[in-house]
Symmetry: C2
Subunit: 352 residues, 2 copies
Amino acid sequence: MGKDITIYDIAKEVGLSPTTISRALNDHPAVNLKTKQRVSEVAGQMGYRTNLFASNLRRQHTHTIGVIVPRLNSPFMSTVISGMEKAATEGGYNLIISQSLETLQKEQANAKTMFDSRVDGLLVSLSYETDDLHHFEPFISRGIPVIFYDRVAEHEQCTSIVIDNLQAAYKATSHLVEQGCTNIMHITGNLKRNVYSDRLKGYKYALIDNNLPYNEQNIIVNNLSEEAGEEAAQQILKMKKLPDGLFVSNDTCAVSCVKTLKQAGISVPADVAVIGFNNDPICRVIEPNLTSVNYPGSEMGELAVKALILRLNGSTEGIASNTINLRSELIIRESSLKSKVAGKKWGQLAPK
Amino acid sequence: MGKDITIYDIAKEVGLSPTTISRALNDHPAVNLKTKQRVSEVAGQMGYRTNLFASNLRRQHTHTIGVIVPRLNSPFMSTVISGMEKAATEGGYNLIISQSLETLQKEQANAKTMFDSRVDGLLVSLSYETDDLHHFEPFISRGIPVIFYDRVAEHEQCTSIVIDNLQAAYKATSHLVEQGCTNIMHITGNLKRNVYSDRLKGYKYALIDNNLPYNEQNIIVNNLSEEAGEEAAQQILKMKKLPDGLFVSNDTCAVSCVKTLKQAGISVPADVAVIGFNNDPICRVIEPNLTSVNYPGSEMGELAVKALILRLNGSTEGIASNTINLRSELIIRESSLKSKVAGKKWGQLAPK
DNA sequence: TCAAGCAATGAAACCGATTGCATATATTTG
DNA sequence: CAAATATATGCAATCGGTTTCATTGCTTGA
C-alpha cells in the first residue's frame, strides 16, 4: 500500500522543478531532449503514474465518453459496444456505459449521471419511450457533443449515425413481392423511433410502388421480443386469410414467429415467406434459415466514437454535423425464397 | 457554454463559506438543518453539479469500477455486463469496460489503463492466453480489490465468483450416460482456464464413476467458435466409430456441430445426443432444441459488483474473500433425449 | 562590445472540493 | 453567574498536475 509517486517526487530525485517534470512528461517543446529522457527514465523506475483527477481538474476534460444504450444484452447492441470499445481504446478514451432498459425515466437518470461525471461527449441510442430530448439540453448548452446512433432523433446540434432503414425495408418488401407475395404483413416496434417508423415507410412505399394495397390491419406494433413474436403469430393464425409474406423488424421476433407458425403446421416459406432484421446469428440456426438485413453494428460503434473524437479535437469540419449513413444489405436465405428453393428445402427435411 | 457553478458561487449567493456549503451538500451532521435546506435549494436553482475530479482528487477514490472482459459481444458476457451495470448504478458507481479480445497483451494494456484511471476496484474474467497474473500486482499491492468472475485464477488476495463447473459437467455427462450413451466425446476450450479444465474433470469423473473408459482421443480442444464447431464435427465424421454422445463447452460451438452433423445425415439425438453449455437463446431455436447448462450471467454480474462494493465499504467481513459459488442447472431438451422423445421428434419433422 | 533573440527552467497561481483545527455563539450545568 | 459543553461556522492547507509569466544564461549579429 505504498504511497503514490507524484511529479514532486520525481522533481526532487532529478533535481528540477515540478513544472519541468510536468512539461517533460507531456513532451512539451520547450524542454531539453536530454532532460525529457532523464525524466521519463526516472519516472519509469519510480513507478510513476499520472493522476488523472489532478490533470482533468486543471484541464477541464475527462477523456471519457458516455454511452447510453437501451439494453446491453442484445446481439446487435453488444456488437455496437464492442466496436465502440475498440475505437475508444485506440483513441485513448474510456467508455462509461449505462442502459436505459427502454424507459425514459432511466434514460434521464443516466443522462444526469453522465453529466455529473463530466463526460467529454455522449453517445446515445434512444429508449422506446423517449419522446422529448430535454435531458440532453445540459450537454448541448455547454457545448458537450451528443451523437445519436441507430435510434436517433432530429436535433439541430447533434449528429446522427444510422443505416437507411427506409431503403432497407423497401428492398426487403420488394424482395417478398418478387417472390410472388401479394399479402404481406409487417411487424415492427414503437413508431416513435425512427428505425421502426422508417421501416414502416419503406414497407409501405414498396407496396405502393408495386401496386399492392397498403392496409393498416396488416401492421402489428409490439416490443419485438420473443414473447411478442409468439403472440403476433397467434394473432396471424386467427386471421381469415393468412398473409403470404411477413416482414419483421428484428430477428428475435421473426424467429419466434417462424417457430410458432411452424408448430401450427404452416410452412415457411411455402405458405408464408419471412424476412427479419439485424442478421443476428440465430438467422443461420432457425430452419429455414432466415433472410435478414445485415446491420453493421461494430462499424456503427466504431464510427460513432471516431466521429465524436474528431469533434472533440476541434474538427468542426469532417463531419457536416448532420446525418451519417451506413450501408446495409439484404441477406437472402431460404425463409423468403418461395419459388426455386422449395425442392431444396424438402430435400433437407428428409435427410434419409 | 456558461461557466460551471462551484461551491464558491453558492457560498457567495447564500452568504456562507465554501466549507459550510461543502458540508451542507454532503449532509454533514455539524450543519444546521435549515442551512442545509437553503443551500440545497440555491444549489438546485443555480444548476450546481459537483466536480467529481476535485472531489476525487481530494478523497482519493473514483467511485468507478473497472471491468475487463474477454469479449463484449457474446450472449453470456453481455448478460453479465448488464447485471453489473444494474448493480453499479444502484450502488452509485460507474463502470469502465474494456475487452481483452482473448489476448494476454490486450489484457495487460487494459489493466494498465484501469490502473491509471485509478478505478476503485477491478472485475476480471481472464482471456484464453493469460497464464500469469503479474499485471494485477499493482492493484493488489496498493490494496485495490480485484475480483475474478467466471474465468478465474487462484490468488491469495482475490475473491472468485464462479459456478461449479465440475459438478455441472458431471451432471451433463451423467445425463448422457443415463440416456444410454457409452462413447461420449467432449469439446472444450483452452484448458488454462478453470471453466474448461473443470468441465473436463467433471466429464472425466462422470465417466469413471459410471465405469466407462476415459480416453484422451475423445477430447477436442478448440476456441469454441462457430467455425471450430464445424471443424470439430468434420473431424468426428471421419472417425471410424462415431460417438453416441457429445458434450460441448458452449452453445455456439454445440449448435454449429449439430448443424454440420445433421447436414451429413447424422440424426441428433438418435445417433448422437448433444449437450451444450450456457443456455443461450439459440438453444431453443436449433432443431432439435439443445440441452444445456443454464448459467446465471446477470446474477453473476450483479453479485460481482455487490461483492466489490461491500469490500470497498470496508466490510472485510461478509465475503470470506475466497470463492463464491453460484447455482447452475441442467436444462434438458430434445437434443439429449435418446429414448422417450424419438417418437415426438419424428412427429415434429413430418408436420403433415 | 552590447542589445536582441532564443532556449531552458522555475515560482506561484490555479482547478474545486474536502477537512483538521480554530473560533464564536448558544445552551446547559453546578 | 461562571464554567463546561454543544452547536454552527470559517480559515487555510491540501490533493497533484497545468499554465502564465518571469528569469537566467547563451548565442548571434551589428
